[in-house]
Symmetry: C2
Subunit: 255 residues, 2 copies
């Protein structure tokens, strides 16, 4: 038995994505790594789980000596199946990413990367998700990997508060421009939908979801502010969605 922490690594871009390879390489000396990741891209899956069809899980040799498994399900499925059928015990840490593209502010809700980390946190595993603000397949993960390593070392040392996971986003900048790592709150921002309406070869309409990201938040303590000002942003995230302050107000309603 090794005394090294057992680390589960997953993502939502799929097990072959450069981002997860960068994450594995960045932390592989910090513990015993096991990779359980989707066999195909699962972006924007939110916190979906697979209940209406069966799941497949198979070992791969994609990571050499590091054990790795691909799963036919969502990122949240990978965590559930990884813990139950691969690790047979709770890992000491769950890392998700590095995502190709931002998961800052409202994107945390749509993000498969963050749903995997959230699932880990629900299961009582210290968990973090990492995302690079660059959608490109050829993105340079050097800086993001360095920050992921630093944060991983800190989580192992300092421990996370109970019920709290981390949403880490790294700006697309050269390392020398980085101003530091900033602990933030989730910015009040959203996507303004625009649907691209097209006709198929049979003349029937279909729609592509597109949108324009808009930040309504002028605070300098938000993740959007941090990223726009060349900081890596770290938002502590919780899965208790209760709007506690609203309870008193709604108690005044007359049912």
């Amino acid at each position: 038995m090794s005394n090294k922490p057992l680390i589960l690594i997953t993502n939502d871009d799929g097990i072959t994505a450069p981002g997860i390879k960068a994450l594995v390489n960045a932390v592989k000396d910090l513990g015993e790594i096991i990779v359980v990741a989707p066999d195909a891209p699962q972006s924007a899956m939110g916190h979906a789980i697979t209940i209406s069809k069966p799941l497949r899980l198979s070992q791969t040799d994609l990571y050499g000596e590091i054990k790795s498994f691909q799963c036919s399900g969502t990122p949240a499925d990978c965590v559930k199946l990884g813990v139950d059928k691969v690790m047979h015990r709770k890992p000491d840490l769950l890392l998700s990413g590095i995502n190709h593209g931002s998961n800052s502010s409202i994107n945390v809700l749509y993000s498969g990367t963050m749903s995997a980390a959230m699932e880990g946190c629900i299961e009582g595993i210290p968990s973090a998700g990492f995302s690079l603000c660059d959608f490109s397949y050829e993105a340079d993960f050097t800086l993001a990997a360095e920050i992921a390593r630093k944060i991983t070392i800190n989580i192992l040392k300092e421990k996370l508060p109970k019920g709290v996971l981390l949403n880490v986003n790294i700006p697309k900048i050269p390392k020398e421009l980085l101003q530091g790592i900033k602990i933030c709150r989730q910015a009040n921002a959203k996507w303004e939908e625009e649907f691209d309406e097209r006709l198929d070869p049979n003349g029937r309409k279909y729609y592509w979801l597109t949108g324009k990201f808009t930040n309504f938040d002028e605070g300098q303590d938000t993740d959007e502010w941090a990223l726009a000002n060349n900081y890596a942003s770290v938002v502590p995230v919780q899965f208790d969605l209760t709007a506690h302050e609203a309870i008193t107000e709604i108690n005044k309603w007359n049912f």
Copy 2:
């Protein structure tokens, strides 16, 4: 132009489910109703949105004089597409459900019903999701429909706090046993995973996700307590996932 509020109704069990029909019937005199719901069941979709394939939208005659549309996407897609391509303006209210099965406590995260309501809230629309704690297709929606109507009337009259939506769950009990409607916080509960491992006809393993629901929360102010004690539970929910109290603590870390 009518002065009636414009109400968007959606769900995750699909446009033909008895639960959404019960909801439409319960509130149809309270405003101008438009139904935009998935063309097939979308349970446990979390806050998934469809970005990797196009969406279809087509009108149906399932609701007689009430305009209704089925959409090939997720519940969150239905809201986005409904607002943008059907209503062409923000509705005054969004109602999601009535779901066949509970969405109390941690289920809020996995729930397609609640992701539709959450999407509405993000778009600035007063929104609520309703769920009956009965998975059966033949469930009796009488009590749930009555409660949905009462709460809808209250939302229209009292307005919801900004950034807050409602997660309403109704116990599976006869009306005369109902103790009332209780405003609650989300209970600290989770699913203990159990995967049902099987062999396909070719001898290859596959897994069905199952699980046992466990409530770790002894508080009498939670939704699980309310439901177990014959109350309908109402949890005010927010989409700011920041664990604000954790910011100070993590700021002490040494990056």
